[in-house]
Amino acid sequence: MAADMTAASAAPRRARKWNQRSIAPWLFLAPGLFMFTVYVLWPIVQSITLSFYDWNGLYNKDGQFTGTFVGMGNYAELMSDPAFETSLWNNLKWLVLYMAALPIGLFIAIFLNQTVRGIRIYKSLFFFPFVISQVVVGLIFAWFYAPNFGLFYLLTEKLTGQGTAILADPDLVTYGIIAAGLWPQIAYVMILYLTGLNNVAPDQIEAARLDGAKGWRMLWFVVLPQLRPATFIAVIVTVIGALRSFDLVSIMTNGGPFGSSRVLSYYMFEMALGEYGYRMGFGAAIAVVLFAIMMVFISGFIWKMWRDETER
Protein backbone atom coordinates (compact mmCIF):
# COMPACT_ATOMS: atom_id res chain seq x y z
CA MET A 1 0.00 0.00 0.00
CA ALA A 2 2.70 2.46 1.00
CA ALA A 3 4.81 1.37 -1.95
CA ASP A 4 1.88 1.96 -4.30
CA MET A 5 1.39 5.46 -3.03
CA THR A 6 5.00 6.53 -3.54
CA ALA A 7 4.96 5.07 -7.04
CA ALA A 8 1.78 6.94 -7.85
CA SER A 9 3.11 10.27 -6.63
CA ALA A 10 6.50 9.79 -8.29
CA ALA A 11 5.02 9.25 -11.73
CA PRO A 12 3.41 12.68 -12.17
CA ARG A 13 6.44 14.36 -10.68
CA ARG A 14 8.70 12.68 -13.18
CA ALA A 15 6.37 13.77 -15.93
CA ARG A 16 6.48 17.34 -14.71
CA LYS A 17 10.28 17.32 -14.57
CA TRP A 18 10.44 15.89 -18.05
CA ASN A 19 8.06 18.57 -19.20
CA GLN A 20 10.03 21.36 -17.61
CA ARG A 21 13.17 20.08 -19.21
CA SER A 22 11.65 19.93 -22.65
CA ILE A 23 10.10 23.39 -22.47
CA ALA A 24 13.01 25.14 -20.74
CA PRO A 25 15.38 25.23 -23.75
CA TRP A 26 12.74 26.90 -25.91
CA LEU A 27 12.04 29.50 -23.26
CA PHE A 28 15.74 30.27 -23.03
CA LEU A 29 16.00 30.40 -26.82
CA ALA A 30 12.88 32.50 -27.40
CA PRO A 31 14.20 36.08 -27.08
CA GLY A 32 17.42 35.46 -29.00
CA LEU A 33 15.75 33.37 -31.65
CA PHE A 34 13.00 35.96 -32.08
CA MET A 35 15.47 38.81 -32.61
CA PHE A 36 17.62 36.73 -34.93
CA THR A 37 14.64 35.66 -37.01
CA VAL A 38 13.24 39.17 -37.33
CA TYR A 39 16.53 40.90 -38.14
CA VAL A 40 18.58 38.22 -39.93
CA LEU A 41 16.69 35.17 -41.18
CA TRP A 42 13.49 36.80 -42.42
CA PRO A 43 15.31 39.68 -44.18
CA ILE A 44 17.29 37.10 -46.18
CA VAL A 45 14.03 35.62 -47.47
CA GLN A 46 12.66 39.11 -48.15
CA SER A 47 15.76 40.16 -50.06
CA ILE A 48 15.62 37.07 -52.25
CA THR A 49 11.95 37.75 -53.00
CA LEU A 50 12.64 41.41 -53.63
CA SER A 51 15.32 40.58 -56.18
CA PHE A 52 12.51 39.55 -58.57
CA TYR A 53 10.87 42.95 -58.28
CA ASP A 54 11.49 46.45 -59.49
CA TRP A 55 10.99 48.74 -56.48
CA ASN A 56 12.02 52.27 -55.56
CA GLY A 57 11.62 51.72 -51.83
CA LEU A 58 8.35 53.61 -51.50
CA TYR A 59 4.81 52.70 -50.49
CA ASN A 60 1.63 54.30 -51.82
CA LYS A 61 -0.51 56.32 -49.45
CA ASP A 62 -2.49 53.24 -48.36
CA GLY A 63 0.79 51.75 -47.22
CA GLN A 64 0.90 49.21 -50.03
CA PHE A 65 4.04 47.93 -51.69
CA THR A 66 4.55 49.63 -55.06
CA GLY A 67 7.04 47.26 -56.67
CA THR A 68 6.35 45.43 -59.92
CA PHE A 69 7.27 41.83 -60.55
CA VAL A 70 9.98 41.49 -63.18
CA GLY A 71 10.91 37.83 -62.81
CA MET A 72 14.56 37.28 -63.67
CA GLY A 73 14.76 40.81 -65.11
CA ASN A 74 17.22 42.17 -62.55
CA TYR A 75 19.49 39.18 -62.97
CA ALA A 76 19.33 39.45 -66.75
CA GLU A 77 20.33 43.09 -66.45
CA LEU A 78 23.27 42.14 -64.24
CA MET A 79 24.55 39.72 -66.86
CA SER A 80 25.15 42.53 -69.32
CA ASP A 81 26.12 45.20 -66.80
CA PRO A 82 29.80 46.20 -67.12
CA ALA A 83 29.81 47.74 -63.60
CA PHE A 84 28.68 44.40 -62.19
CA GLU A 85 31.41 42.63 -64.08
CA THR A 86 34.03 45.05 -62.71
CA SER A 87 32.72 44.53 -59.17
CA LEU A 88 32.79 40.76 -59.54
CA TRP A 89 36.37 40.83 -60.84
CA ASN A 90 37.42 43.10 -58.02
CA ASN A 91 35.83 40.79 -55.48
CA LEU A 92 37.88 37.97 -56.97
CA LYS A 93 41.04 40.09 -56.66
CA TRP A 94 40.17 40.79 -53.03
CA LEU A 95 39.61 37.10 -52.33
CA VAL A 96 42.86 35.95 -53.91
CA LEU A 97 45.13 38.73 -52.65
CA TYR A 98 43.62 38.72 -49.16
CA MET A 99 44.96 35.20 -48.78
CA ALA A 100 48.42 36.78 -48.53
CA ALA A 101 47.39 37.60 -44.96
CA LEU A 102 47.95 33.93 -44.07
CA PRO A 103 51.66 33.49 -44.88
CA ILE A 104 52.52 37.04 -43.78
CA GLY A 105 50.59 36.65 -40.53
CA LEU A 106 52.28 33.32 -39.89
CA PHE A 107 55.68 34.84 -40.61
CA ILE A 108 55.14 37.68 -38.11
CA ALA A 109 53.78 35.23 -35.54
CA ILE A 110 56.90 33.08 -35.85
CA PHE A 111 59.05 36.19 -35.63
CA LEU A 112 57.32 37.25 -32.41
CA ASN A 113 57.06 33.82 -30.80
CA GLN A 114 59.99 34.30 -28.42
CA THR A 115 60.29 34.91 -24.72
CA VAL A 116 62.41 38.02 -24.47
CA ARG A 117 61.78 41.05 -22.29
CA GLY A 118 58.87 43.22 -23.40
CA ILE A 119 57.66 40.76 -26.04
CA ARG A 120 54.08 41.01 -24.80
CA ILE A 121 54.01 44.72 -25.55
CA TYR A 122 55.40 44.04 -29.02
CA LYS A 123 52.73 41.44 -29.67
CA SER A 124 49.92 43.80 -28.68
CA LEU A 125 51.35 46.69 -30.67
CA PHE A 126 51.62 44.47 -33.75
CA PHE A 127 47.97 43.60 -33.23
CA PHE A 128 46.98 47.27 -33.10
CA PRO A 129 45.73 47.72 -36.67
CA PHE A 130 42.97 45.18 -36.11
CA VAL A 131 41.52 47.06 -33.16
CA ILE A 132 40.96 50.34 -34.96
CA SER A 133 38.01 51.03 -37.21
CA GLN A 134 38.26 50.40 -40.94
CA VAL A 135 37.13 53.98 -41.44
CA VAL A 136 40.29 55.11 -39.64
CA VAL A 137 42.42 52.56 -41.52
CA GLY A 138 40.99 53.94 -44.76
CA LEU A 139 41.78 57.53 -43.79
CA ILE A 140 45.29 56.55 -42.70
CA PHE A 141 46.01 54.89 -46.02
CA ALA A 142 44.38 57.68 -48.00
CA TRP A 143 46.93 59.97 -46.34
CA PHE A 144 49.71 57.47 -47.01
CA TYR A 145 48.79 57.34 -50.71
CA ALA A 146 47.96 61.05 -51.11
CA PRO A 147 49.38 62.59 -54.29
CA ASN A 148 52.31 65.04 -54.00
CA PHE A 149 53.08 64.57 -50.31
CA GLY A 150 51.89 61.06 -49.33
CA LEU A 151 54.73 58.79 -48.22
CA PHE A 152 53.88 56.18 -50.82
CA TYR A 153 53.82 58.82 -53.55
CA LEU A 154 57.19 60.19 -52.44
CA LEU A 155 58.63 56.70 -52.30
CA THR A 156 57.56 55.85 -55.84
CA GLU A 157 58.83 59.24 -56.97
CA LYS A 158 62.22 58.48 -55.51
CA LEU A 159 62.37 54.99 -56.99
CA THR A 160 60.96 55.57 -60.47
CA GLY A 161 61.32 59.31 -60.95
CA GLN A 162 57.57 59.71 -61.18
CA GLY A 163 55.12 59.60 -58.31
CA THR A 164 52.14 57.26 -58.46
CA ALA A 165 48.82 58.50 -57.12
CA ILE A 166 47.52 55.00 -56.59
CA LEU A 167 43.95 55.92 -55.66
CA ALA A 168 43.52 57.94 -58.83
CA ASP A 169 44.76 55.21 -61.15
CA PRO A 170 41.94 52.93 -62.39
CA ASP A 171 44.33 50.04 -62.94
CA LEU A 172 45.98 50.17 -59.53
CA VAL A 173 43.33 51.53 -57.21
CA THR A 174 41.90 48.16 -56.13
CA TYR A 175 45.35 46.90 -55.20
CA GLY A 176 45.93 50.01 -53.14
CA ILE A 177 42.71 49.42 -51.19
CA ILE A 178 43.45 45.71 -50.76
CA ALA A 179 46.84 46.60 -49.27
CA ALA A 180 45.08 48.83 -46.76
CA GLY A 181 42.70 45.99 -45.89
CA LEU A 182 45.53 43.52 -45.51
CA TRP A 183 47.09 45.59 -42.75
CA PRO A 184 44.45 44.77 -40.09
CA GLN A 185 43.78 41.34 -41.58
CA ILE A 186 47.43 40.29 -41.19
CA ALA A 187 47.26 41.42 -37.57
CA TYR A 188 44.23 39.19 -37.00
CA VAL A 189 45.84 36.16 -38.63
CA MET A 190 49.01 36.81 -36.64
CA ILE A 191 47.16 36.64 -33.34
CA LEU A 192 45.46 33.40 -34.38
CA TYR A 193 48.81 31.83 -35.23
CA LEU A 194 50.48 33.15 -32.08
CA THR A 195 47.83 31.36 -30.03
CA GLY A 196 48.27 28.27 -32.17
CA LEU A 197 52.06 28.28 -31.82
CA ASN A 198 51.66 28.53 -28.07
CA ASN A 199 49.86 25.21 -28.11
CA VAL A 200 52.15 23.26 -30.42
CA ALA A 201 53.22 20.06 -28.62
CA PRO A 202 56.82 20.66 -27.46
CA ASP A 203 57.70 16.94 -27.33
CA GLN A 204 56.92 16.53 -31.03
CA ILE A 205 59.14 19.49 -31.89
CA GLU A 206 61.96 18.07 -29.77
CA ALA A 207 61.56 14.63 -31.31
CA ALA A 208 61.67 16.12 -34.80
CA ARG A 209 64.71 18.14 -33.83
CA LEU A 210 66.50 14.98 -32.71
CA ASP A 211 65.65 13.49 -36.10
CA GLY A 212 67.44 16.44 -37.66
CA ALA A 213 64.42 18.43 -38.88
CA LYS A 214 64.85 22.18 -38.93
CA GLY A 215 63.81 25.38 -40.65
CA TRP A 216 61.38 24.95 -43.51
CA ARG A 217 61.06 21.19 -43.20
CA MET A 218 60.24 21.52 -39.52
CA LEU A 219 57.68 24.22 -40.28
CA TRP A 220 56.05 22.32 -43.12
CA PHE A 221 55.99 18.77 -41.78
CA VAL A 222 55.77 19.23 -38.01
CA VAL A 223 54.46 22.67 -37.08
CA LEU A 224 51.91 23.47 -39.80
CA PRO A 225 49.94 20.23 -39.33
CA GLN A 226 49.51 21.16 -35.69
CA LEU A 227 48.40 24.65 -36.63
CA ARG A 228 45.53 23.36 -38.74
CA PRO A 229 42.72 24.62 -36.47
CA ALA A 230 44.29 28.10 -36.51
CA THR A 231 44.73 27.97 -40.29
CA PHE A 232 41.11 26.95 -40.74
CA ILE A 233 39.77 29.88 -38.69
CA ALA A 234 42.22 32.21 -40.44
CA VAL A 235 40.96 31.15 -43.88
CA ILE A 236 37.35 31.65 -42.83
CA VAL A 237 37.82 35.12 -41.33
CA THR A 238 39.97 36.18 -44.28
CA VAL A 239 37.40 35.08 -46.85
CA ILE A 240 34.65 36.85 -44.94
CA GLY A 241 36.82 39.94 -44.55
CA ALA A 242 37.52 39.99 -48.29
CA LEU A 243 33.87 39.66 -49.27
CA ARG A 244 32.71 42.22 -46.70
CA SER A 245 35.06 44.89 -48.03
CA PHE A 246 32.69 47.84 -47.95
CA ASP A 247 34.14 50.36 -45.51
CA LEU A 248 37.51 50.84 -47.17
CA VAL A 249 36.09 51.26 -50.67
CA SER A 250 33.54 53.73 -49.40
CA ILE A 251 36.04 55.79 -47.39
CA MET A 252 38.99 55.73 -49.78
CA THR A 253 37.47 56.08 -53.25
CA ASN A 254 33.66 55.83 -53.26
CA GLY A 255 34.16 53.13 -55.86
CA GLY A 256 36.09 55.44 -58.19
CA PRO A 257 37.86 56.52 -60.26
CA PHE A 258 35.22 55.78 -62.90
CA GLY A 259 33.80 52.94 -60.81
CA SER A 260 37.01 50.95 -61.16
CA SER A 261 37.34 50.06 -57.47
CA ARG A 262 33.75 48.92 -56.94
CA VAL A 263 33.11 45.61 -55.25
CA LEU A 264 29.75 43.83 -55.03
CA SER A 265 29.02 45.05 -51.50
CA TYR A 266 29.65 48.65 -52.48
CA TYR A 267 27.91 48.44 -55.85
CA MET A 268 24.83 47.04 -54.12
CA PHE A 269 24.77 49.97 -51.72
CA GLU A 270 25.22 52.43 -54.57
CA MET A 271 22.31 50.96 -56.52
CA ALA A 272 19.92 50.69 -53.58
CA LEU A 273 20.68 53.85 -51.61
CA GLY A 274 23.31 55.84 -53.45
CA GLU A 275 23.28 58.73 -55.85
CA TYR A 276 21.97 56.52 -58.68
CA GLY A 277 18.54 56.45 -57.08
CA TYR A 278 16.73 53.84 -55.09
CA ARG A 279 16.75 50.65 -57.12
CA MET A 280 15.97 48.29 -54.25
CA GLY A 281 15.12 45.22 -56.34
CA PHE A 282 18.22 45.54 -58.49
CA GLY A 283 20.32 46.08 -55.37
CA ALA A 284 18.76 43.01 -53.78
CA ALA A 285 19.72 40.97 -56.84
CA ILE A 286 23.37 42.03 -56.42
CA ALA A 287 23.14 41.12 -52.73
CA VAL A 288 21.78 37.69 -53.62
CA VAL A 289 24.77 37.05 -55.88
CA LEU A 290 27.13 38.06 -53.08
CA PHE A 291 25.16 35.91 -50.66
CA ALA A 292 25.42 32.92 -53.00
CA ILE A 293 29.21 33.33 -53.20
CA MET A 294 29.42 33.58 -49.42
CA MET A 295 27.17 30.53 -48.98
CA VAL A 296 29.80 28.35 -50.64
CA PHE A 297 32.23 29.21 -47.85
CA ILE A 298 29.62 29.17 -45.08
CA SER A 299 28.55 25.65 -46.12
CA GLY A 300 32.15 24.50 -45.97
CA PHE A 301 32.50 25.91 -42.49
CA ILE A 302 29.26 24.36 -41.26
CA TRP A 303 30.21 21.02 -42.80
CA LYS A 304 33.50 21.05 -40.92
CA MET A 305 31.74 21.97 -37.68
CA TRP A 306 29.21 19.21 -38.23
CA ARG A 307 32.02 16.68 -38.60
CA ASP A 308 33.74 17.91 -35.43
CA GLU A 309 30.48 17.80 -33.48
CA THR A 310 29.53 14.27 -34.49
CA GLU A 311 33.05 12.99 -33.90
CA ARG A 312 32.90 14.11 -30.29
Binding site: F28, L29, P43, L50, Y122, S133, I205, I233, A287
Partner: protein, 281 residues
Protein backbone atom coordinates in the same frame (compact mmCIF):
# COMPACT_ATOMS: atom_id res chain seq x y z
CA UNK B 1 58.70 25.50 -28.90
CA UNK B 2 58.87 26.72 -32.45
CA UNK B 3 60.94 28.56 -33.53
CA UNK B 4 63.95 27.61 -31.44
CA UNK B 5 64.25 30.09 -28.53
CA UNK B 6 66.58 32.92 -29.45
CA UNK B 7 68.43 32.40 -26.16
CA UNK B 8 69.86 29.19 -27.60
CA UNK B 9 71.38 31.05 -30.55
CA UNK B 10 74.65 32.89 -30.65
CA UNK B 11 75.29 36.30 -29.16
CA UNK B 12 75.15 37.94 -32.59
CA UNK B 13 71.71 36.53 -33.39
CA UNK B 14 70.37 37.72 -30.07
CA UNK B 15 71.62 41.24 -30.71
CA UNK B 16 70.16 41.17 -34.17
CA UNK B 17 66.79 40.11 -32.78
CA UNK B 18 66.79 42.86 -30.15
CA UNK B 19 67.37 45.44 -32.88
CA UNK B 20 65.01 43.86 -35.40
CA UNK B 21 62.02 43.96 -33.03
CA UNK B 22 61.65 47.75 -32.67
CA UNK B 23 62.62 48.35 -36.31
CA UNK B 24 59.95 45.92 -37.53
CA UNK B 25 57.40 47.50 -35.22
CA UNK B 26 58.10 51.00 -36.49
CA UNK B 27 57.78 49.87 -40.10
CA UNK B 28 54.57 47.99 -39.28
CA UNK B 29 52.95 50.95 -37.53
CA UNK B 30 54.43 53.58 -39.83
CA UNK B 31 51.18 54.84 -41.35
CA UNK B 32 49.61 55.10 -37.90
CA UNK B 33 52.59 56.95 -36.44
CA UNK B 34 52.53 59.35 -39.35
CA UNK B 35 48.87 60.15 -38.76
CA UNK B 36 49.43 60.55 -35.01
CA UNK B 37 52.23 63.02 -35.65
CA UNK B 38 50.23 64.89 -38.29
CA UNK B 39 47.38 65.30 -35.82
CA UNK B 40 49.70 67.39 -33.65
CA UNK B 41 51.24 69.41 -36.45
CA UNK B 42 50.17 73.06 -36.86
CA UNK B 43 48.09 73.79 -39.95
CA UNK B 44 50.69 76.37 -41.04
CA UNK B 45 53.32 73.62 -41.36
CA UNK B 46 51.13 71.70 -43.76
CA UNK B 47 50.38 74.83 -45.75
CA UNK B 48 54.11 75.40 -46.21
CA UNK B 49 54.64 71.83 -47.33
CA UNK B 50 56.36 70.81 -44.13
CA UNK B 51 54.76 67.38 -43.88
CA UNK B 52 57.54 65.30 -42.46
CA UNK B 53 60.18 67.73 -41.23
CA UNK B 54 60.50 69.13 -37.73
CA UNK B 55 57.11 70.55 -36.70
CA UNK B 56 57.21 74.21 -35.69
CA UNK B 57 55.30 73.32 -32.53
CA UNK B 58 52.89 70.89 -30.98
CA UNK B 59 49.40 71.85 -32.02
CA UNK B 60 46.96 70.65 -29.36
CA UNK B 61 44.67 73.23 -30.92
CA UNK B 62 43.84 70.75 -33.68
CA UNK B 63 42.06 68.65 -31.07
CA UNK B 64 40.53 71.72 -29.44
CA UNK B 65 39.27 72.78 -32.87
CA UNK B 66 37.48 69.53 -33.72
CA UNK B 67 35.91 69.42 -30.28
CA UNK B 68 34.61 72.98 -30.35
CA UNK B 69 33.94 73.60 -34.05
CA UNK B 70 32.62 70.19 -35.12
CA UNK B 71 30.08 67.82 -33.56
CA UNK B 72 32.72 65.12 -32.96
CA UNK B 73 31.96 65.04 -29.24
CA UNK B 74 28.29 64.43 -30.03
CA UNK B 75 29.25 61.66 -32.46
CA UNK B 76 31.26 59.93 -29.77
CA UNK B 77 28.38 60.15 -27.31
CA UNK B 78 26.08 58.71 -30.00
CA UNK B 79 28.51 55.83 -30.46
CA UNK B 80 28.34 55.05 -26.77
CA UNK B 81 24.54 55.14 -26.90
CA UNK B 82 24.57 52.47 -29.58
CA UNK B 83 27.49 50.43 -28.31
CA UNK B 84 26.68 49.94 -24.64
CA UNK B 85 23.07 48.75 -25.04
CA UNK B 86 24.26 46.42 -27.79
CA UNK B 87 26.90 44.88 -25.53
CA UNK B 88 24.38 44.37 -22.72
CA UNK B 89 21.65 43.09 -25.05
CA UNK B 90 23.73 40.70 -27.14
CA UNK B 91 25.56 39.24 -24.15
CA UNK B 92 22.31 38.69 -22.21
CA UNK B 93 20.47 37.09 -25.10
CA UNK B 94 23.37 34.84 -25.97
CA UNK B 95 23.85 33.70 -22.37
CA UNK B 96 20.37 32.26 -22.61
CA UNK B 97 20.62 30.83 -26.13
CA UNK B 98 24.07 29.46 -25.38
CA UNK B 99 22.77 27.80 -22.22
CA UNK B 100 19.83 26.28 -24.06
CA UNK B 101 22.02 24.89 -26.83
CA UNK B 102 24.78 23.60 -24.56
CA UNK B 103 22.73 21.94 -21.82
CA UNK B 104 19.64 20.48 -23.49
CA UNK B 105 19.70 17.72 -26.05
CA UNK B 106 16.39 18.60 -27.70
CA UNK B 107 15.50 17.82 -31.29
CA UNK B 108 16.76 20.42 -33.70
CA UNK B 109 19.42 21.62 -31.28
CA UNK B 110 22.26 21.36 -33.78
CA UNK B 111 20.09 22.90 -36.50
CA UNK B 112 19.31 25.99 -34.42
CA UNK B 113 22.96 26.24 -33.46
CA UNK B 114 24.19 26.08 -37.05
CA UNK B 115 21.60 28.63 -38.04
CA UNK B 116 23.03 31.13 -35.56
CA UNK B 117 26.55 30.39 -36.78
CA UNK B 118 25.69 30.66 -40.46
CA UNK B 119 23.64 33.83 -39.98
CA UNK B 120 26.66 35.44 -38.42
CA UNK B 121 28.57 35.13 -41.70
CA UNK B 122 26.06 36.43 -44.23
CA UNK B 123 26.98 39.58 -46.14
CA UNK B 124 25.31 42.67 -44.66
CA UNK B 125 23.94 43.66 -48.04
CA UNK B 126 21.46 40.78 -48.12
CA UNK B 127 19.88 42.25 -44.98
CA UNK B 128 20.17 45.91 -45.90
CA UNK B 129 16.96 46.72 -47.78
CA UNK B 130 14.51 44.79 -45.55
CA UNK B 131 16.15 45.91 -42.29
CA UNK B 132 16.19 49.55 -43.35
CA UNK B 133 12.60 49.29 -44.54
CA UNK B 134 11.48 47.67 -41.27
CA UNK B 135 13.33 50.24 -39.19
CA UNK B 136 11.61 53.02 -41.15
CA UNK B 137 8.19 51.38 -40.74
CA UNK B 138 8.67 51.08 -36.98
CA UNK B 139 9.63 54.76 -36.76
CA UNK B 140 13.10 53.87 -35.52
CA UNK B 141 15.11 55.18 -38.47
CA UNK B 142 17.80 57.64 -37.40
CA UNK B 143 17.59 56.72 -33.70
CA UNK B 144 20.16 55.05 -31.46
CA UNK B 145 17.78 52.26 -30.51
CA UNK B 146 16.92 51.43 -34.11
CA UNK B 147 20.60 50.84 -34.76
CA UNK B 148 21.23 49.10 -31.43
CA UNK B 149 18.32 46.66 -31.91
CA UNK B 150 19.74 45.48 -35.21
CA UNK B 151 23.23 45.12 -33.74
CA UNK B 152 21.89 43.13 -30.77
CA UNK B 153 20.12 40.71 -33.11
CA UNK B 154 23.09 40.27 -35.43
CA UNK B 155 25.74 39.95 -32.72
CA UNK B 156 23.63 37.31 -30.98
CA UNK B 157 24.77 34.93 -33.72
CA UNK B 158 28.45 35.18 -32.94
CA UNK B 159 27.88 35.44 -29.19
CA UNK B 160 25.75 32.30 -29.16
CA UNK B 161 28.53 30.34 -30.83
CA UNK B 162 30.93 31.57 -28.18
CA UNK B 163 28.68 31.06 -25.15
CA UNK B 164 27.48 27.64 -26.24
CA UNK B 165 31.04 26.34 -26.64
CA UNK B 166 32.05 27.88 -23.33
CA UNK B 167 29.15 26.31 -21.40
CA UNK B 168 29.76 22.98 -23.14
CA UNK B 169 33.25 22.97 -21.67
CA UNK B 170 31.95 23.39 -18.10
CA UNK B 171 31.70 20.18 -16.03
CA UNK B 172 28.27 18.75 -16.80
CA UNK B 173 28.18 16.96 -13.43
CA UNK B 174 27.41 20.31 -11.79
CA UNK B 175 24.12 20.51 -13.65
CA UNK B 176 23.35 16.81 -13.17
CA UNK B 177 23.90 17.10 -9.43
CA UNK B 178 21.62 20.12 -9.19
CA UNK B 179 18.90 18.28 -11.11
CA UNK B 180 19.11 15.32 -8.76
CA UNK B 181 18.56 17.80 -5.94
CA UNK B 182 15.46 18.99 -7.76
CA UNK B 183 16.71 22.50 -8.55
CA UNK B 184 14.55 24.29 -11.14
CA UNK B 185 16.07 24.83 -14.58
CA UNK B 186 16.11 28.63 -14.39
CA UNK B 187 17.80 28.42 -11.00
CA UNK B 188 20.48 26.16 -12.50
CA UNK B 189 21.04 28.84 -15.13
CA UNK B 190 21.06 31.72 -12.66
CA UNK B 191 22.89 30.28 -9.65
CA UNK B 192 25.15 27.60 -11.11
CA UNK B 193 26.06 28.46 -14.69
CA UNK B 194 25.96 32.26 -14.67
CA UNK B 195 28.59 32.75 -11.93
CA UNK B 196 30.99 30.60 -13.95
CA UNK B 197 30.50 32.69 -17.09
CA UNK B 198 32.42 35.78 -15.97
CA UNK B 199 35.44 35.24 -18.26
CA UNK B 200 33.17 34.60 -21.25
CA UNK B 201 31.08 37.67 -20.49
CA UNK B 202 34.23 39.82 -20.20
CA UNK B 203 35.67 38.47 -23.46
CA UNK B 204 32.46 38.98 -25.42
CA UNK B 205 31.85 42.43 -23.98
CA UNK B 206 35.17 43.82 -25.19
CA UNK B 207 34.82 42.14 -28.56
CA UNK B 208 31.27 43.34 -29.18
CA UNK B 209 32.19 46.82 -27.95
CA UNK B 210 34.98 46.99 -30.52
CA UNK B 211 32.91 45.54 -33.36
CA UNK B 212 30.03 47.93 -32.78
CA UNK B 213 32.15 51.00 -32.13
CA UNK B 214 33.93 50.33 -35.42
CA UNK B 215 30.81 49.55 -37.44
CA UNK B 216 30.41 51.86 -40.40
CA UNK B 217 28.01 50.13 -42.77
CA UNK B 218 24.94 49.98 -40.53
CA UNK B 219 25.63 53.42 -39.16
CA UNK B 220 25.39 54.70 -42.74
CA UNK B 221 22.28 52.69 -43.56
CA UNK B 222 20.25 53.33 -40.41
CA UNK B 223 21.24 56.82 -39.25
CA UNK B 224 21.59 60.19 -40.88
CA UNK B 225 21.96 63.28 -38.73
CA UNK B 226 24.31 64.66 -36.13
CA UNK B 227 21.85 63.65 -33.40
CA UNK B 228 22.21 59.93 -33.90
CA UNK B 229 25.16 59.24 -36.20
CA UNK B 230 27.99 57.31 -34.53
CA UNK B 231 31.60 58.41 -34.80
CA UNK B 232 32.49 56.25 -37.83
CA UNK B 233 29.76 57.73 -40.00
CA UNK B 234 30.35 61.14 -38.49
CA UNK B 235 34.05 61.03 -39.26
CA UNK B 236 33.29 60.03 -42.82
CA UNK B 237 31.02 63.03 -43.33
CA UNK B 238 33.48 65.37 -41.62
CA UNK B 239 36.16 64.00 -43.93
CA UNK B 240 34.01 65.18 -46.83
CA UNK B 241 34.01 68.71 -45.42
CA UNK B 242 37.68 68.87 -44.47
CA UNK B 243 39.07 68.30 -47.93
CA UNK B 244 42.84 67.94 -47.58
CA UNK B 245 42.94 69.45 -44.08
CA UNK B 246 44.97 66.52 -42.95
CA UNK B 247 45.75 67.85 -39.48
CA UNK B 248 42.00 67.74 -38.71
CA UNK B 249 41.37 64.43 -40.44
CA UNK B 250 44.25 62.93 -38.46
CA UNK B 251 43.06 64.31 -35.14
CA UNK B 252 39.55 62.97 -35.81
CA UNK B 253 40.92 59.56 -36.77
CA UNK B 254 43.01 59.28 -33.64
CA UNK B 255 40.04 60.25 -31.52
CA UNK B 256 37.77 57.68 -33.17
CA UNK B 257 40.39 54.96 -32.70
CA UNK B 258 41.02 55.74 -29.06
CA UNK B 259 38.14 54.00 -27.20
CA UNK B 260 38.60 50.54 -28.77
CA UNK B 261 42.35 50.85 -28.33
CA UNK B 262 41.94 51.65 -24.64
CA UNK B 263 39.48 48.80 -24.29
CA UNK B 264 41.96 46.46 -25.91
CA UNK B 265 44.82 47.47 -23.63
CA UNK B 266 42.75 47.26 -20.48
CA UNK B 267 41.19 43.91 -21.32
CA UNK B 268 43.86 42.40 -23.54
CA UNK B 269 43.71 38.87 -22.18
CA UNK B 270 39.94 38.62 -22.58
CA UNK B 271 40.01 40.26 -25.98
CA UNK B 272 42.48 37.74 -27.39
CA UNK B 273 40.74 34.82 -25.70
CA UNK B 274 37.53 35.84 -27.48
CA UNK B 275 39.14 36.36 -30.84
CA UNK B 276 41.13 33.15 -30.95
CA UNK B 277 38.22 30.95 -29.96
CA UNK B 278 38.62 27.72 -31.89
CA UNK B 279 42.17 28.45 -33.00
CA UNK B 280 43.40 25.63 -30.78
CA UNK B 281 41.87 22.22 -30.32
Amino acid sequence: MFPRPIQQSGQAAQWLYTIALPVALIIWLFPLLGVALTSLRPASDLAQGNYFGMPSGIAWENYAYIFTKTPIGQYMVNSLWVTIPTVVGAVSLSLMTGFALAVYGFRGNILVFFMFVAGNFVPFQILMVPVRDMTLQLGMYDTWYGLALFHIAFQTGFCTLFMRNFIKALPYELIEAARVEGVAEWRIFWFIVLPLMRPAIAALSVLVFTFIWNDFFWATVLTQGVDSQPITAGLSSLNGQWIAQWHLVSAGSILAALPPVLMFFLMQKHFIAGLTLGAVK
